[in-house]
């Protein structure tokens, strides 16, 4: 991916950027009359779903998604630098999110990394075009942070695997065509990890039922997924039996952005400090705009500093001499930094609304339609999902700092 392609010249990159900028300027859709989700985890209605599928496909067809993925599978075959530019321009033009995140950022890079040539031929282009939506079957109701203890069973029966069990927090569960599934095939393995296997499972077979989970926001976006004697082809096993844990861990590295190779674009629109500043101009303290209040100003400056610090850590990842001592540090801590920041800045944005912080989505008097309240509550999806912040802290402690296991 990208690595084998030679570094383009600055002139090529500049030209590409100019084209991308013009294209997004021209094509980013104006907001529809329904509220768009801020993250890929909040797609709750068909109209949201179709709007975002169409948009992702349009971006892909224009050549601004999957640019660094191999051409033979449907990617652009270009150097990673091009996709980074496209993603950057997407953000600058406030593009809606790329919907098929689990395909684009988790399953896709995983397939290109560890999948077979046939897998890639079969799945990659559908991921990019949003024709094939992917979901993830890792967490279970009883096994969240302790993913290695997953109990969903897969039993081999002739040319098929028979799946039984329950997965929780399946994003896009109702829309997905495929699932990356972690299931137990060897119940008597020497340890819990060795009994797990990894599947590229179709979702359109009998015996799979998805039931929407109502989130703390009152909305939907996840399902609980029930497998009752669901039969999937034997060929759906990825890698060898018993390799599930290793493949799942690799997937999580993609999910947590600890490893590069994603198709590009973004799946979460993060309210940054800039938007909080804008809010401070529109809310009041003592008859004056909140932004004139010295204490509000100081808080805003603190958020700006933190926001920039996180952004700069992303940029510093590329400067090898500054990462020599603990090379994995920035990769493994980026989820922790980012998600906790987003949660706190949304929380602060509510407090800036004064008494109106009490309103919620749906109330006509709410500030910005209640998006801050909703974004704050939704922010927990990222501080909990993909490994809670507390698990992330353990990972940094153990794998970056070398502290003993808890």
């Amino acid at each position: 991916m990208g690595a084998s392609v030679s570094r383009p010249s600055q002139a090529e990159l500049d030209e590409y950027r100019a084209d991308a900028s013009a294209w997004f300027e021209e094509n980013v859709p104006s907001p529809p009359d329904f509220m768009l989700p801020l993250t890929f985890m909040e797609v709750a209605t068909d109209e949201q779903f179709h709007f975002l599928c169409d948009w992702q496909n349009k971006v892909y067809q224009a050549g601004y998604l999957g640019e660094s993925w191999p051409k033979e599978y449907g990617g652009g075959g270009l150097h990673q630098a091009f996709q980074d530019i496209a993603t950057d321009e997407m953000g600058k033009h406030n593009s809606p999110i790329m919907l098929n995140t689990i395909g684009l950022s988790w399953a896709g890079p995983l397939l290109l990394d560890m999948g077979t040539h046939e897998d890639c031929l079969r799945y990659i282009s559908g991921i990019l075009s949003a024709e094939d939506i992917w979901c993830q079957g890792f967490s279970e109701p009883e096994n969240g942070s302790d993913l290695g203890n997953a109990q969903t069973r897969a039993v081999r029966d002739g040319d098929e695997w028979v799946i039984n069990g329950t997965k929780a927090w399946t994003t896009h569960g109702t829309y997905a065509k495929y699932m990356i599934l972690l299931a137990r095939t060897i119940p008597d393995a020497p340890n819990k990890y060795a009994g797990l296997s990894f599947f590229l499972a179709p979702m359109n077979v009998p015996g799979i039922e998805t039931v929407p989970i109502r989130k703390l926001t009152g909305e939907y976006g996840f399902t609980e997924t029930f497998f009752t004697d669901a039969r999937i082809p034997a060929a759906c096993l990825m890698g060898e039996e018993g390799q599930g844990w290793a493949i799942a861990m690799r997937t999580l590295e993609y999910e947590r952005s600890a490893r590069g190779g994603q198709a590009g674009g973004y799946s979460i629109t993060v309210p940054d400090a800039e938007e909080a500043i804008d809010l401070a101009r529109r809310t009041r303290r003592g008859g004056r705009p909140a932004i004139e209040d010295p204490i509000v100003r100081d808080k805003l400056v603190e958020f700006l500093i933190e926001n920039r610090g996180i952004q700069l850590c992303g940029a510093r990842q590329r400067l090898a001499p500054l990462n020599q001592e603990r090379p994995m540090s920035l990769d493994l801590s980026s989820k922790l930094m980012n998600t906790e920041f987003v949660r706190r800045i949304n929380e602060f944005a509510i407090s800036m609304q004064g008494a109106k912080g009490a309103y919620y989505r749906g109330e006509p008097q709410s500030v910005d339609g209640g998006i801050w309240q909703r974004a704050y509550l939704n922010a927990f999806s990222a501080t909990i999902g993909g490994g809670t912040s507390q698990i992330q802290a353990n990972i940094v402690a153990e794998h970056v700092l070398g502290l003993p296991k808890s």
Binding site: P294, P321, S329
Partner: protein, 373 residues
Amino acid sequence: MSRRGRIGLSEEQAELLELAGKYCRDKSPIETVRRLIDDELGHEPVVFAEMAELGWLGIAIPEGYGGAGLGLAEVVPVLEQMGRHLMGGPLLSTTLAAQALLAGGTDAQKSQVLPGLVAGKPATLALMEAHGDWDPGQIECHAERSRGALALRGTKSLVLDAKGAQWIVVSVDLDGSPALVLLDREAIETCKCRRETVIDETRRSYQLVLDGVSVSENALLDVSKASAAFQHIELAGSLLAVAEMCGGAVSCINYTVSYLNARKQFGRLIGSYQALKHPVVDAHVRIEQARSHLYAAAHTFENDEEGEIAVRMAKAHTGPAFAYTADRAIQFHGGFGFTYECDAQLYRRRALWCETQYGDALHHRRKLAALVL
């Protein structure tokens, strides 16, 4: 303003980071740090001379004055590594004195002084006074013109490495405006100089009584550049303080981590307790952000407003981050942490000192509010 920071690294920075890392590790093991705490001078002149030979005193000085013609960005890795090994000594004060002259000195002063600084003659700045106010406009020391000379009076405090300094750049009030005056060795010797007791025992700080000192009017730095020079000094001093703090914080984390990996209580390594490991991760993450701010500030330092914002952000972020790191280091060493023997106190004292240099986090956040909101 552009809200995004920019970061980059020159080849020279990368080389110096490695070279200075080896040098400082070699020259400043913790036993040496502790021995120098008890030493009156507080540093080894041989080491300072070697640093001059390595060219470190001339890194940010133009080639015309014998320097390497690079920028402060290239001094940053040196100070980061010195901070990491808790080194004192006059490299910092000499570098900042040179910056003061470059920003505000006359051509004659620069030609007269800078080549000597590059060669290893120490110099320093005398900016603070008894009131402790960081605002460079708050100056009670006074210079009065009399027959082609300037008569000085008043007292400067917190003058780093004044003893042994060949040159001291002093801030004074002249005709109602802040100005800078260059004291030579002869003038310095007529000042009363008393060593101050400061919290960071690796530092040597002095009170300097100017009463009775008289210098030629040629000792006055270019008054038309005075306000730009004060601004430049504050930002340069802040940048280098951040470099020292980042280095110190990284080794403070390493020091704490090795204790958590060695000490057992209740039959377990204490590093396995999340009550200890999570705050250490917190500190680590904050220091990672500090280092990103540092190298962004170094990279953009020369661009006026962008550089100012980056430096102030770096200082505002790093001070509290280092303070937290060292504060938790003491706590997590338990009873040992309360002893003089535990190195955690060295880092905590260093962090407290650095926060007093060129403005604390609140000072810089106040300035930032005016710049970015």
